[in-house]
Symmetry: C2
Subunit: 205 residues, 2 copies
DNA sequence: ATGCACACGTGACAC
DNA sequence: TGTGTCACGTGTGCA
């Protein structure tokens, strides 16, 4: 990284360079030695210095500097800001688009799977009492599927009461309140897995 | 949107304001009326004007301006640039991360599906000659699956030669060169769909 | 020599 | 009253 040119500097400050060519000339003309200083002099010097410091700081922040002129520093900063703004815009656009396509792709994949393999079985199990469960099952409708689903549950040791089956197109939602009659299994998640396996078996055959 | 304060302006240019307090004083002192103008005067005016224009342009580009001071314009621009830079960084990071998680999620979903339903059947069909096809099938390995796959193909009217079956764990890759003996179906994609349906039927039962 | 960029000191002006 | 910001014209050095 090399700077294109020498920057402006304040190193001449209070050097004995004939600054502004002002004081000295006046001295020559008037023949006086009265060194008048404006009360503004020092604050103004500080102001200029601070401004230049800020300018250098800005220059440090902006890459691809062409020249070290005050004007070009600002101009380059302007183009750089524009660049950054468009970058931010395009990036957030990409992000949103990607989010959308992501969701869409997942949806497409789900549809594709349903199309190929039928509805993905869904099982919720909630333990109500010590021996009581609430179960919700959604699986693909199939000929004789309901009895095929109920049979193994009896085998496992579940006693169903208050079972509601709402027939919908393609899907078979079942909610049931279950009394666990003879079974050591009481952990909801475990029961859920077992039911899922049963349903998959039915759905495959 | 309201500007916080009056901007600096160049409207005083060439007004009869005792600029710099310089010329007039000199006139008073020397008693002459010679209106000396530095050759630098006009270019310097233009330079200042351009610089201020740039400064205003910069100010226009930066939101959340606190004051209209030259220094604050630059300072605000600096903080704004920093802000934009961090924005760009975080956005591109998010983008990359999202890309990664996206791919990962799809992969997870695929694995999940394979775990639940077995390998997704994959069929490629390429027509070589008028009655010759090249077929590649990858499906889940199953007991008696191969013969179950071959039978219906004979029924459809395919005559298999140069069939290669490479047994792999879980998967059953089959590549085959097929002579279409008695069948009106010659469109590759159509054949592909039929084969897929057959495989799905096998995989379900 | 010609133009350009700069720092300088100053008066004016606003708050 | 001061305190801060500005535009101005200028002299200087650099390319």
């Amino acid at each position: 990284m090399e700077f294109p040119s020498t920057p402006f500097d304040d190193s001449n400050i209070s050097k004995e360079r004939e600054v502004g060519g002002r004081i000295d000339k006046r001295k020559q003309i008037e023949g006086e030695v009265k060194e008048y200083k404006s009360k503004n002099l020092i604050p103004e010097r500080n102001r200029r210095q601070k401004l230049n410091e800020r300018l250098l700081e800005l220059r440090l922040l902006v890459p691809n500097i062409t020249k070290m002129t005050k004007e070009t520093i600002i101009t380059d900063a302007i183009t750089y800001i524009r660049e950054l703004q468009t970058n931010v815009n395009s990036l957030s656009e990409q992000l949103l688009e990607m989010e959308a396509t992501h969701a869409e792709e997942l949806e497409t994949k789900n549809e594709e799977i349903i199309d190929k393999w039928g509805i993905q079985p869904e099982v919720q199990v909630a333990q109500i009492g010590t021996t009581k469960l609430w179960i919700k099952i959604v699986c693909q409708k199939k000929r004789g599927g309901f009895t095929k689903l109920m049979e193994p549950m009896n085998v496992i040791g579940f006693d169903l009461n208050d079972t509601s089956v709402t027939a919908s197109k393609g899907a078979l939602p079942v909610t049931s309140s279950v009394e666990v009659v003879r079974s050591g299994i009481t952990e909801a998640n475990q029961i859920r897995e077992i039911l899922l396996e049963i349903i998959r078996g039915i759905q495959r055959n």
